[in-house]
């Protein structure tokens, strides 16, 4: 990777890919319910919208400690960037200029834009490293990873932090060699915003240190000329400028800075353990299964993408060990380090696994860059097997690209709106995964699938037991008219008329409570994905007194 300018055509293609992805994401939100975390982030964003109002009415007083503490306090365990963007998007694109009729879509737009940004950067970096077709395959492999496609819809931080890791790495690679000030400032600012997105960014300087060590080692072993200064200015920019930008862009840190930074670290380094089912067992305390990240990657990323990535990895490692060109070195090692660092915490059996694949989502862009390289390698070999005909030479790349992308694309679309319930054919698809005892759902968002049944069955003003759906997420469904405005979400089963149940083994006790209170074990509606029950709805039988279990 060097710092050459991109052709205008490539910039246009990157923009088209990003815009296309954004349109697909925006047009497929309607059946997707709101996750627990989305409910919490929207709650934060609403507080920040009020802060925006205070800036308008109170001017600089809005930046005083009392104001900052009040409006930035909700969920201060996570930094401000995305929450501010959610708030700004909602305020501007739903309330002021009603581009989005549903408030949820406006809150989700920044998350979707981050997914699109990742697609664009993947194309550009992939194109620079291995040509347009490799870049396109890398970008689309990422876009159509079923779990990425799901997370890319959300007003959450996970795809955003993956995009920021990718973007910062990309800018770092471009700034590595020289002393080009705009690029150096860009990478420092990008890292600051990366820090302000999610705490995964803490690992990035360690990744860069590892990167530098490997690059210098390979240069020395292969007797290649050193790329750039011994310690690149880009690294200095990351380390110096990054924290400064974080401080500037996260007002919560303006006061009691050291205490709050320490508390931020402490919260995530000592995070609670939540329940997660894996291979038929519910894990809720250490030791966590060390195979979790690997098995879940195998079970949720399309096999063809993984095989391409494996081929790309082979080619990349071979070039590092035996190659003679140095131009690839900085970028290639960044890709490998991006994957290794993202997966590293799950080598420890003390690391929580409650979030499933989102924990190591930051590895997937780099995995897809390797897949792009694997594709180019495959293309070059398949080309030698075919007769040399001009039309065939022209058609082959597109045909091969379709062959490796159509499966992931169909799987991603088919996964919608169940998202997290999706598993690849390698583990037998959704039914196979259920039989293996892999987690079927979490975050309570499949309420979105059952919303029409709730609307049809509930009496006016009924109380609906929302189970794992956060009340804030339920309120979003209500505000957007997806569930009737007269229906009240409740966490009290007693007094409810309809009860949701989102299946996880440890949650079953809630279903048993419903059986006792409602006097029935028969759900009235079900969100089943490929024949596998994911979430279901109970209705209190009419005129039945709340009875015992007999």
């Amino acid at each position: 990777m060097n710092g050459e300018r991109f052709e205008r055509r490539d910039l246009a293609i990157a923009a088209a890919l990003a815009l296309g992805y954004l349109v697909v994401l925006c047009s497929s939100t309607k059946s997707l319910g709101y996750m627990r975390d989305e409910g919490f982030y929207v709650f934060c964003a609403r507080a920040l919208e009020t802060w925006f109002d205070h800036i308008g009415t109170q001017g600089t007083d809005a930046f005083a400690r009392a104001s900052i503490d009040r409006y930035f306090d909700p969920v201060h365990e996570h930094p401000a960037l995305m929450k501010l963007l959610f708030a700004a998007s909602h305020r501007l694109l739903h309330e002021r200029f009603p581009l989005f009729s549903e408030s949820g879509d406006a809150y989700r737009l920044p998350g979707m834009a981050m997914g699109s940004l990742a697609v664009a950067v993947l194309y550009l970096w992939g194109t620079a490293a291995m040509g347009r077709i490799g870049g396109a395959v890398a970008a689309l492999s990422f876009a159509w990873m079923p779990h990425v496609f799901f997370h890319a819809h959300l007003a959450c931080l996970d795809v955003a932090v993956a995009a920021m890791w990718l973007l910062t790495s990309f800018l770092y690679a471009r700034a590595f060699e020289g002393r080009h000030w705009p690029r150096l400032i860009a990478v420092g600012v990008a890292y600051g915003l990366f820090l302000d997105t999610k705490h995964n960014a803490w690992m990035f300087p360690f990744a860069l240190a590892l990167h530098l060590g490997v690059v210098r080692l390979v240069e020395r072993r292969r007797k290649l000329p050193r790329t750039g200064p011994l310690v690149p200015w880009a690294l200095v920019s990351v380390v110096v400028l990054g924290p400064l930008v974080l401080w500037l862009s996260w007002p919560w840190l303006w006061f009691d800075t050291s205490e709050r930074v320490l508390a931020w670290f402490k919260f995530h380094l000592g995070h609670d353990y939540y329940n997660m089912e894996f291979l038929g067992r519910t894990y809720w305390k250490p030791p966590m299964p060390r195979l979790y990240a690997w098995v879940m990657t195998l079970g949720t990323v399309p096999l063809v993408t993984l095989v391409l990535a494996a081929l790309g990895l082979f080619d990349t490692v071979r070039a590092l060990v035996r190659g003679t060109e140095s131009s690839r070195l900085v970028g290639d090692v960044l890709w490998l380090v991006g994957i290794a660092t993202s997966y590293a915490p799950w080598w420890s059996s003390d690391t929580p696994i409650f979030g499933g694949t989102k924990h190591w989502l930051t590895a997937y862009p780099f995995l897809c860059l390797l897949a792009g390289r694997g594709f180019v390698l495959t293309l070059s070999h398949v080309r030698t097997l075919l007769p040399e005909r001009p039309w065939l030479t022209r058609a082959l790349p597109a045909a091969l690209a379709v062959a490796v992308l159509v499966g992931p694309c169909v799987m991603a679309i088919h996964a919608h709106p169940y998202g997290l319930s999706f598993y690849t054919p390698l583990v037998g698809g959704v039914p196979g995964a259920a039989s293996l005892g892999l987690n079927r759902t979490f975050w309570g968002y499949t309420t979105g699938v059952l919303a029409p049944d709730i609307n049809r069955r509930a009496l006016p003003g009924a109380a609906i037991y929302v189970h794992d759906t956060a009340i804030q997420s339920w309120e979003l469904l209500r505000a957007d008219g997806r569930v009737r405005s007269d229906l009240n979400g409740t966490l009290a089963l007693y007094g409810s008329e309809l009860a949701l149940y989102h299946h996880e083994p440890h949650m079953r006790r809630v279903e048993f409570e419903t059986w006792v209170l409602y006097g029935t074990v028969a759900p009235v509606a079900m969100a089943a994905y490929d024949g596998v029950p994911i979430a279901w709805l109970y209705q209190r039988p009419p005129k039945r007194a709340e009875g015992g279990a007999e």
Binding site: T282, P302, L303, V304, V307, L308, G374, T378, H381, V382, T384, L385, A399, L400, A403, L405, V406, G407, V410, M411, H414, T424, P425, G428, G429, V430, P431, S435, R440, L493, Y494, H503, P505, H506, R508, R509, V510, F512, E513, W515, V516, L517, T520, V521, A522, P523, V524, A525, M526, A528, D530, G531, V532, P533, W536, E546, G547, G548, A549, E550
Partner: protein, 313 residues
């Protein structure tokens, strides 16, 4: 590569497998996504299942994850709560297994198949329990006045717990109490009652049992009158596994006796889940007698104990 032996050179065709794999994965995904029967297929099974279902012989679904669909389609008649949340299979004479995707229920895989019938995507098997225990009395079915009296016993003092029929049925959600039924023997103070409810066992499966929270001091006594006894009392007991799997609470003891004659005492630790015990009732088989269960726990704060016992031959 040109100078490689032909056999090795042929390996280059393996590169074609990459795009083929992409298309194969797509096709497999389409096939797998349509394999498991949906709710309409389950609904079509309703008449057949209800005709085959015998009282006291539970319906089991294989694979187990499909059971909620079966409950939706077949309704409460196919899944009476007492059968669905049974303590175990030992006293069950037989089962009706509904299987899809070639699955079998692991727990009853070895039971003899009496009949087997294919119906659409399903296989219906009537299974016979090879070694059923004969149940003479299932205590959980007799938690009502006239058959059971409940009292808190502190020293020589007894405080009877009164039977109430219309108390509010409540539940605590994921981290709260299990469902408290509206019909229960309510003791003085707080959560002290005896009634029938469900708890989650160590596999997070439902178990129907008699909720009997011991007092912080003294004993909770349940006295069942006119119990036809067999050779043993076969029981299972535990607390909600999700709530108490940390195992930090003090042990709970359950003692069984009849007319001052002790059958034995069982000590239960939280982390054991819903675990079994066997108490002999020597010389009483075939007789009808009063049976007492006494439950106690030292420092019994939140000792959400629940047990299911049967008098068996």
């Amino acid at each position: 590569m040109a100078d490689w032996p032909p056999r090795v050179r042929r390996l280059r065709y393996l590169w074609v497998l990459v795009p083929v794999l992409g298309l194969l994965e797509l096709a497999t995904n389409v096939v797998l996504s349509r394999r498991a029967p949906g709710v309409e297929a389950w609904r079509a099974l309703r008449g057949t299942v209800l005709a085959m279902k015998r009282s006291g012989e539970p319906v089991v679904v294989a694979p187990e994850w499909a059971e909620p669909l079966a409950r939706l389609a077949l309704g409460d008649r196919a899944f009476p709560l007492g059968e669905l949340a049974r303590a175990d299979d030992r006293t069950v004479p037989g089962l009706l297994e509904i299987a899809e995707l070639g699955a079998r229920s692991p727990a009853v895989r070895d039971w003899p198949v009496v009949s087997e019938k294919r119906e659409g995507p399903f296989v219906l098997r009537v299974l016979r329990n090879p070694k059923p225990l004969q149940s003479r009395y299932r205590f959980v079915d007799h938690v009502r006045p006239g058959e059971l009296s409940v009292a808190l016993v502190r020293g020589d003092t007894e405080h009877p717990c009164e039977f109430k029929e219309h108390l509010p049925a409540t539940a605590g959600g994921l981290h709260g109490q299990v469902a408290f039924p509206s019909e229960r023997f309510q003791c003085a103070g707080g959560e002290m009652f005896v009634g029938v409810t469900l708890i989650d066992d160590q596999d997070y499966r439902p178990r129907r049992c008699i909720w009997a929270h011991p007092p912080q001091a003294g004993t909770l006594r349940l006295r069942f009158s006119a119990v036809p006894l067999g050779a043993h009392l076969h029981g299972l007991a535990g607390l909600s596994y999700f709530l108490f799997r940390d195992g930090v609470g003090p042990p709970i003891t359950l003692s069984a006796s009849s007319g001052g004659r002790a059958f034995g005492t069982v000590s239960h630790r939280d982390e054991s889940g819903f675990s079994g015990f066997e108490l002999a009732t020597p010389g009483l088989s075939g007789q009808t007698a009063e049976v007492d269960f006494e439950i106690r726990a030292e420092g019994g704060y939140r000792r959400d104990f629940c047990f299911a016992v049967e008098a068996v031959e």
